[in-house]
Amino acid sequence: MGLAHQLTPFAALLPLGVAFLMLALSHWLPPRSADVTSLVVSLGLVVLCGWLAIESLHGPILHWFGAWTPEVSGKPDVMLGIAFSVDPASAAVAAFCALLFAGSFVFAWGYFDKVHAHFHILMLLFLAAMIGFCLTRDLFNLFVWFELMGIAAFALTAYPLGKSSLEGAFNFTVTNALGSFLMLAGVGLLYARTGTLDFVTMGRVIASVPPDPVIAGGFCLLATALLTKAAIVPFHMWLSDAHAVAPSPVSVIFSGVMVSLGLFGLLKLIAMVFAGDAQVMMLVHVVLFWLGVATAVVGGLMAWAQRHLKRLLAFSTIAHLGVMLIAIASVSAIGTEGFLVYLVGHGLVKGTLFMIAGILLARFNSVDELELYGEGRSLWPAGIAMGLAGLLLGGLPWGLLHDATDSVHAGNHGVAGVVAIIVGTALTGAAVLRATGRIFLRWSGVPAVELVAPTEREREKGNRPLWLMLLPCVVMLAIALLPADLAESFLHSAASGLVARVVPHEGGGTLAAAITFALTILIPAASLLRRRPIRKFARRAVEAETAPFYALHVLHSGRVTDYVVWMMVGLAVLAGWLKFG
């Protein structure tokens, strides 16, 4: 325990320190050293965090910074220090973040030559913030890591300085910054009532006082911030802008882990701080569940209606975040287990898909599925990877995502949840398969809803060897194909370390999985066989089919002012349900 205790802060200090050194030396460093250093650092962090995860199976590892332990104050309920607390789930998520960064660094090898090491510095800051966010046990410290994560992400989005990337970054920054203001206000409210910022002490105080509107209000504000980061309907609008326009190595991180980390933070707060507040727990069970349902459905429909591949993947991320929120809203050990596996499986598959989008962008200067029709034949290995990733995304009965969905179904106790998971999963998988068919196999089908979706030509540096860009895809897909059972005992203790509540397991997961996978195959098949509607009746049918998609397109207007209105609607829903629900 001694060594683990000593090494805990280095999980965040190492990337921070290396980033600062690189910034100081950036003008003198030889060209490839930044690539090598950041890759080594992220791989080192995978090992360190993975080792911490295994060490913490015997009990959480606590590190009080500056040795300001709770005993220092001499009073039992006064906490002066700030602690990192390592539990298996948090450390495993941190290790996964580092793994995805390593993949992204390999993928981006030589991509950012012109700008010294600034890309790598921002990425390492981003990684440090994520690891700190996972490991901290102090609410304000959590806020600081959250902000640091935000600022690194904003800068990375705006990085290409293109028209769209700047506007996407602006929307991203405004919505997420507003979320973080609300989060700070929430931190203040909770501190006002509990007099502490330490998760565990705060949870103890909240469990011992009668229901208090200030605490519930504090939860609403924190949830708004984290749900904005996690792009849950109606806070989700910024994501499709930011992820579609960010450089593809950055989008890998955004979709793979940044957004799901928002949900992980929410899960930790629910489990460690608010578990004793009946009112808040009802809110989680009811409102967050329905928000998850809405997110899965809206994300799935919007993903299906896209032609710009990165935007399609962005909406697919939204749909999968909805599934993860359904898992969290069950507040059960099995749901938590499902969430953790889903986070990893989804991150791997989505990271792969964004890398393939990056490969297409590098080779053909476009990620538009209609423009790229049949172009991808020369890149058939990428096509195979994309098809496999699409199948995994759409519920192929094999691998991490499938096992995770099974656990989510087992913890979920509502028909709406089952339907939403099926719709979200099947539509996103179908959308990716449709794009694969068109780009790599020259399968046609008359485009319907996707024809009117927003798109744009882009440019990314294209002189990297194909095998180098495909290498991380292959490794990540191979990991995603492993069965979750390999780590079963670890997962059990990781999940029950966060949420110990056991619920009776819901059956029917196998049937749901079979329906999902059948739909994933049938929907793109139907779409790729579609012919131009000639008869009047057929035209009417197509119009009726596309009308809801047009409405959704109009709602996702791309204007930041609209996004803020939707955020406030979401906050009002949370607060209104608490008051009148």
Binding site: F140, V144, E147, G150, I151, F154, A155, A158, L161, G162, K163, S164, S165, L166, E167, G168, A169, F170, N171, T173, V174, A177, L178, F181, L184, A185, V187, G188, L189, Y191, A192, L197, D241, A244, V245, H308, R311, V452, A453, P454, T455, E456, H553, S557, G558, R559, V560, T561, V564, V565, M568
Partner: protein
């Protein structure tokens, strides 16, 4: 006093968000965001405030003198630093947007456009 601080914070947040939602210029929008942020400062300082207490600096006071809550002041201070960097970043983005699109009206700016 406390109630007044909470009301001022809520009002500032309200007008800030109204400003953002109705904004027709990025720089104005960024200004409104700082108004929203001021709401959190007022809220936090109101929470930490105590009547008749001094600043939490003890080098010329004996320990034990009544002082306002230093934790809240530390929070506000940290947040001011963060917000300064955020505002700078937003203004830099606004400048670059203006160079490329020649407008800063959020109603006319959107990241990807439908193909005509």
């Amino acid at each position: 006093m406390n109630v007044l601080a909470w009301c001022v914070a809520a009002w500032l947040l309200g007008v800030g968000i109204y400003g953002i939602v109705t904004s027709r210029h990025y720089v104005h929008l960024i200004g409104c965001m700082t108004v929203c942020q001021s709401a959190t400062y007022v809220l936090l300082l109101g929470i930490g405030f105590r009547w008749g207490a001094g600043a939490p600096i003890f080098y010329d006071h004996p320990p034990g003198t009544p002082a306002v809550d230093p934790v809240m002041q530390a929070l506000v201070l940290t947040d001011i630093v963060v917000s300064a960097s955020m505002t700078a970043l937003l203004l830099a983005i606004a400048l670059q947007v203006h160079k490329r699109r020649c407008t800063l009206d959020p109603q006319h700016l959107r990241p990807l456009r439908p193909r005509e």
